[in-house]
Symmetry: C2
Amino acid sequence: MKKYLLILCLFALVAPAFAQEALFSGTDLVSPEINADGTVTFRYSNPKAVKVEITGDFLPNVKVKTPFGEQESAGKAVLKEEKGVWTYTTSVLAPELYTYKFIVDGQETLDPNNVYMCRDIASYTNIFIIEKEAGDKGDLYSVNDVPHGNVAKVWYWSQALQINRRMTVYTPAGYEDSKEKLPVLYLLHGAGGDEDAWPTLGRAAQIMDNLIAMGKVKKMIVVMTNGNPNCEAAPGEWSAGMYKPSFMGHTVGGKAPISTMQAHFPDVVNYVEKHYRTLTGKKNRAICGLSMGGGHSFMISRDYPDMFNYVGLFSAAIALDQTGEALTMDNKKIDSKTEEQLKTLFAKKPALYWIAIGNTDFLYQNNADYRKYLDSKGYNYEYVETDGGHIWRNWRIYLTTFAQRLFK
Amino acid sequence: MKKYLLILCLFALVAPAFAQEALFSGTDLVSPEINADGTVTFRYSNPKAVKVEITGDFLPNVKVKTPFGEQESAGKAVLKEEKGVWTYTTSVLAPELYTYKFIVDGQETLDPNNVYMCRDIASYTNIFIIEKEAGDKGDLYSVNDVPHGNVAKVWYWSQALQINRRMTVYTPAGYEDSKEKLPVLYLLHGAGGDEDAWPTLGRAAQIMDNLIAMGKVKKMIVVMTNGNPNCEAAPGEWSAGMYKPSFMGHTVGGKAPISTMQAHFPDVVNYVEKHYRTLTGKKNRAICGLSMGGGHSFMISRDYPDMFNYVGLFSAAIALDQTGEALTMDNKKIDSKTEEQLKTLFAKKPALYWIAIGNTDFLYQNNADYRKYLDSKGYNYEYVETDGGHIWRNWRIYLTTFAQRLFK
């Protein structure tokens, strides 16, 4: 190992110069620290701060007033200071992927000792994972010592949108060394998101790796598109430059789209089936999505009744009126075209039409109205209701559950 | 466009609920703003702060004292406050990718209005790009309206290291729809880095996309490995969990490696040539790397004289003594095995053996000693010296220059 030692010694000398030229900082503090008893300690060094708080989804929600009425929001806790270092220890936390930020004298601040963070539209939150045993949520969202699928950023031409577009494609471990053809899950993000949403906050690759390794999910390709038809790719990844992302991803960074997500979707399926070793036909295709992506899944499955045998609507924004007259989330009105299309879709008996939503989701009523319509027609679907609202925590659970039902 | 309008209206109602549940913040401030005159304005809202500074590589370097003597470090500037908003406008900046952070009452803080940032080992810096005309550095580092290559995170088995490992593979635009076989560039990172370094701070995909589109670089596959032989992947991307990254990437997150980067390298080349449509043989392979990765390129080309026709050492950490006796950066001593290996390598006349370094790089003397040795033997190499030190700015220039010389 002498060669290795030599290189180590060489680089021990290099560190200080790097430290200056590469602008990097960081301290010796460990934050967050996952304690053996299942609590978590956060540490933050700032001798000049007057008040340091933490906000995160492991704290009890509080009610806050908004122009849209009272809403739930992540709670806060206050850190204690000693010798300039602020600390806070949580109660025992259940297995989960958690998000948090510090609030330093009123300013939201990332934890400088935690490089793990995800972008959610226009800002970042730090993340950490609590896992206790194999198969719990924390375990499913972690990178474990199992075979890993490859994850690629892939450009495809959309004939409908007349632009090159970027998507994320997960191919399960072993795909490259096999001749086996695989079914495909199309996994769609929500408003403000992009093709990086499911691979980051959604932990899609980890969930698929782990469930496939456990034998709970069939090997499949997972295709994560960009749901903003005016955008070629995630912010900063196309020629619109480093613009500030917005919840209204549709409206920023470029020209108006010449067509819709649903109208362009055959371009995606055709690309995937031409360039990957796929099983084709309806029974080997599934589509699901969260929020706007649930709305897209609703519309795409409605518009192409022969394309997908499995449809998953996760906290979906469903519009039963496509005439443009009912510009609300009120799903009591349905137009005749939609009626006809849904009749056709359900007559073809999809293997699974799956609706899931949290019981405090602001789209709860929107989905309840849709279920009521489906019930009135006797259309076959499954329904799952969970605690909580319009949050990634639910969408990861829905992917975990839905994926286990596919292609079996 | 009625369907589209409907969805827009639906989501206009959704925003506030998201804003609370997804923990995101962000303000309406624009920062940084690239002004028409080539200056840049930064804005930061913080009514309670006493002093807000900015540090970035667009400011003149300052000398700071370190245990290793005086070193250059990025300078600082002070922001001015008005109504709680702090601002600073730069002088006119030359085309470049710049990095910066705020310093709020002594604490380094990311710009909350700029989602564009890169991790450099254990911390993040914000980035922005100045471009003035086609072909300048800012233009080459930007995502332009040109065909884009795909970028994949790919797992391969290393027989030498007995672990699965992750690498980043760039395939140029058109690869998927062609039958053409391509040459391969192996592009290695420095100490503390990983397979995400060149694709982020290195802007490797953008540089290749742009130079290929301009006809200045041949279409090639670019393979970016992980240079820490005890690690399977970048921090957080393998089963060692969400550990705190360290400059000594070799020593964290796992067991000691059972072999070296150079000994395992044939595993990489074999995987790539088996799984991609490559031209094979020495004349279709190039290797280069920065700092530790330059050291790796030196050792790999030395150990496998028939493997690469093009070798690039970027600010390389070169060890002429592999006996383990001279554990310093002093390259005045060379052992007989290295002498023999270099004799063999240069007898085989590589098409290009290219050395580049900045004139204030702390490895300057290390490289000068190596050049002196090469000169003493009459071995053929090319040398490029630039301004500046051990910085990404130089390494992007070196990739830009080196890539244009390959496979021609």
